[in-house]
């Protein structure tokens, strides 16, 4: 299908390169120099098993049909593509469209992936699932599918995040999951992932690890991307339907990067569609207090089973990160994003905490939609980008989650305690 693309702020060039990008990863799970399977030997067989299981199911129409049915009937897909007319007008530039992943069951894009992985877990016959979580969205989405399938569920969460995301912690417990606070290291998402890996290496015979982002050892970056790509496929179809053309730009926040890959991947070969991945700028990338490996120029490294860009000091110790949003507070990023950065396909930028809060408040006031603080990073960049574009151009922003879980955080900043 040929689709007219208009002039764009920045477009990727080489068509061969783009189709190469679309065919990643290679057979060993490498995205160019990134990705791979850097794990302790004990886990290798489980990952090989998962790879085989998924390779069989990936092209199995019955599996896909079951996945699609769950997304439609349980998650409530397709999610709308909403024209934020009032906000667009106020910004005085391009038209902004919001991909409403916040309207999914459980309130974020995360459930697309947990539905898919839960189907895999059931296929492997393992009675127990574990997950790591930062903001708690992936933990809630995992606890939800575990409840539905009657699986035992343990969720690892950094003690800092347990404190700042109390509501989601209680939600997970109501759903029947055990939430295990992690007190080692920086007590955030990366430490939760360390602890989940330690659990998995111990209980690998009866446990399926549901990783929540496009990182980790192969095949996780591949399958998490595939399960989230429904976001981009819908957005592409809806753009053609509502706008009559592909959007000029896509914007999504990037922590590990699952919602961004989900939106971007189906557009990767559309050279005319510019893409912006927005990392957590924290206090500012020049302050060192941020979680923006791609836009701050972090070196390559290996953590949690894959090679990627990774914030670390000169001795190779993983750096402390900072972000107002627990879900983006991670020193690495999915390996496919690392490759897309090198290829120049996506522009990676950062939004600072204060700009994020401003975007959070503005969207809430002007559109009556309260975004998750993670998603507000994407909105903060859209706010900067839109005025540089013409009113006949279009931006699709992934509104990856809703802000209910962040009300306490924002209230505290306003000096209100409940």
């Amino acid at each position: 299908m040929t689709v007219p693309a208009r002039s764009t702020p920045q477009s990727a060039s080489d068509a061969t390169t783009l189709s190469d990008l679309a065919r990643m990863p290679d057979a060993r799970g490498h995205f160019g120099p990134y990705g791979g399977r850097f794990v302790s030997e004990t886990l290798s067989f489980a990952l090989e098993d998962l790879e085989t299981t998924y390779a069989e199911l990936r092209d199995d129409p019955a599996f896909q049909a079951e996945f699609d049915r769950d997304l439609a009937q349980y998650v409530g897909r397709p999610s709308p593509l909403y024209h934020a007319e009032r906000w667009s007008q106020a910004l005085g530039g391009a038209q902004i469209w919001l991909k409403r992943e916040d309207l999914n069951h459980t309130g974020a894009h995360k459930v697309n992936n947990t539905i898919g992985q839960a189907l895999l877990a059931r296929k492997t016959g393992k009675p127990r699932v574990i997950a790591e979580t930062g903001a708690g969205q992936h933990g809630v989405a995992t606890a939800t599918v575990a409840a539905r399938l009657g699986l035992e569920c343990d969720v690892y969460m950094g003690a800092t995040d347990v404190e700042r995301q109390k509501l989601n912690v209680y939600r997970m417990r109501l759903l029947g999951a055990r939430v295990i606070p992690v007190t080692s290291g920086t007590q955030t998402l990366k430490d939760a992932m360390n602890e989940a890996l330690r659990d998995w290496v111990t209980n690998v015979d009866n446990t399926f690890y549901i990783i929540g982002t496009v990182a980790g050892p192969h095949p996780y970056p591949l399958l998490v991307r595939d399960f989230n790509a429904v976001v981009g496929r819908e957005a592409r179809r809806q753009s053609l339907e509502h706008i009559g053309q592909l959007p000029d730009a896509l914007v999504a926040c990037v922590g590990g990067g699952s919602n961004a890959l989900g939106l971007f991947y189906p557009f990767v070969e559309d050279a005319g569609v510019a893409m912006y991945g927005v990392e957590a700028g924290g206090d500012g990338v020049d302050t060192g207090r941020h979680a923006a490996p791609l836009s701050s120029g972090a070196p390559r490294g290996v953590l949690h089973g894959n090679r990627t860009y990774l914030m670390s000091d000169e001795a190779g110790q993983v750096a402390d990160t900072h972000s107002i949003s627990a879900g983006l507070d991670y020193p690495g990023v999915g390996p496919e994003h690392a490759l897309w950065k090198d290829a120049g396909r996506v522009n990676y930028v950062a939004a600072n905490d204060d700009a994020v809060l401003e975007a959070f408040r503005e969207l809430t006031h002007m559109e009556g939609i309260m975004p998750a603080l993670e998603s507000a990073h994407a909105l903060a960049h859209a706010r900067v980008l839109a005025p540089t574009m013409r009113p006949d151009q279009h931006i699709v922003v992934n509104l990856s989650g809703r802000g209910d879980k962040d009300i306490m955080t924002v209230a505290r900043l306003d000096g209100i305690e409940f």
């Binding site: 004990t42 886990l43 067989f45 015979d205 490294g301 670390s312």
Partner: protein, 269 residues
């Protein structure tokens, strides 16, 4: 000839098993490590595994996690380990030293520089927990060029097909992880270990050394009946942890724990 091959050759002639202690370098502070290494040799160590402290030790239990934290707090870096090994080598030119840790510090230094500096310092082997043979095709040849052994793990969950690859890729010795879990988590079952080692014998002449779950002289002696070497980590690191306020007492503590194991392993059956 690499010191590891030399040492296992001697042990084979003597009909003895290797005792391989692990400590985290820089725990509780970098100045103590070389003294601890000499104490371990005095107590009967045949090979020393020196842990490279890492911020995110995903395969380790709380004991070694905390050792990493203490070492990092004291400012220990991978390059400091090269200095420690070089200093150790001034008075001990025969005991093999293996660096054991995670890949990221090595990635940061760069593979070539790492292999060259390790060799120059007198390091004999490298075991990166999160680098299986499939991901070692860049680093392993560089280590080989520098006469440093690339040592790999084998686990109870390793398939025969994978074991073939690992045996073909490995140098020095094979590190058999005795149980599913993190370091320091449980006590191993020697019969179970024997069952898993048997097929490996058919695949390789490399010495088979067993780690994870070895707590005392009795478990060490049990493992020594079926393996070529016994690796002990958390039991030693625990002694360091308990004596951080009086570091001068630590060499004696290490000697006691390791000496018990040595005696139990060497006792006539």
């Amino acid at each position: 000839m690499n010191r590891i091959d030399q040492r296992f050759g001697e042990l084979k002639q003597q009909g003895r098993r290797a005792l391989i202690p692990f400590i985290t370098a820089g725990d509780p502070a970098p100045d103590y490590t070389v003294g601890f290494m000499h104490a371990l040799v005095e107590a009967g160590a045949d090979v020393i595994e020196l842990g490279v402290p890492f911020s995110d030790p995903m395969a380790d239990g709380p004991v070694i996690q905390q050792a990493c934290e203490r070492a990092l707090k004291a400012g220990t870096r991978l390059v400091d380990l090269f200095d420690m090994v070089a200093e150790f080598r001034r008075t001990d030119s025969v005991t093999p030293v293996v660096l054991m840790g995670y890949l990221n510090p090595v990635e940061r230094i760069g593979y070539r520089a790492f292999a060259e500096q390790a060799a120059q310092a007198g390091v004999d082997g490298v075991l990166s927990v999160d680098m299986p043979p499939e991901e070692a095709d860049e680093l392993a040849p560089l280590l080989k060029q520098n006469n440093v052994a690339a040592i790999f793990l084998v686990a109870p969950t390793t398939s025969r097909e994978r074991a073939e690859t690992i045996c073909a890729s490995g140098d020095g010795y094979l590190y058999y992880v005795s149980l599913k879990g993190v370091t320091g988590s449980a006590t191993l079952n020697a019969d179970d270990v024997a069952e898993h080692l048997a097929p490996l014998r058919e695949l390789t002449d490399l010495p088979l050394c067993v780690g994870f779950g070895i707590r005392d002289g009795a478990t060490a002696a049990n493992v020594a009946r079926v393996a070529d070497g016994v690796i002990v980590g958390s039991a030693l690191v625990n002694r360091i942890a308990d004596n951080t306020a009086t570091p001068e007492a630590i060499p004696g503590e290490l000697k006691q724990v390791l000496g018990d194991m040595r005696r139990a392993m060497d006792a006539p059956r």
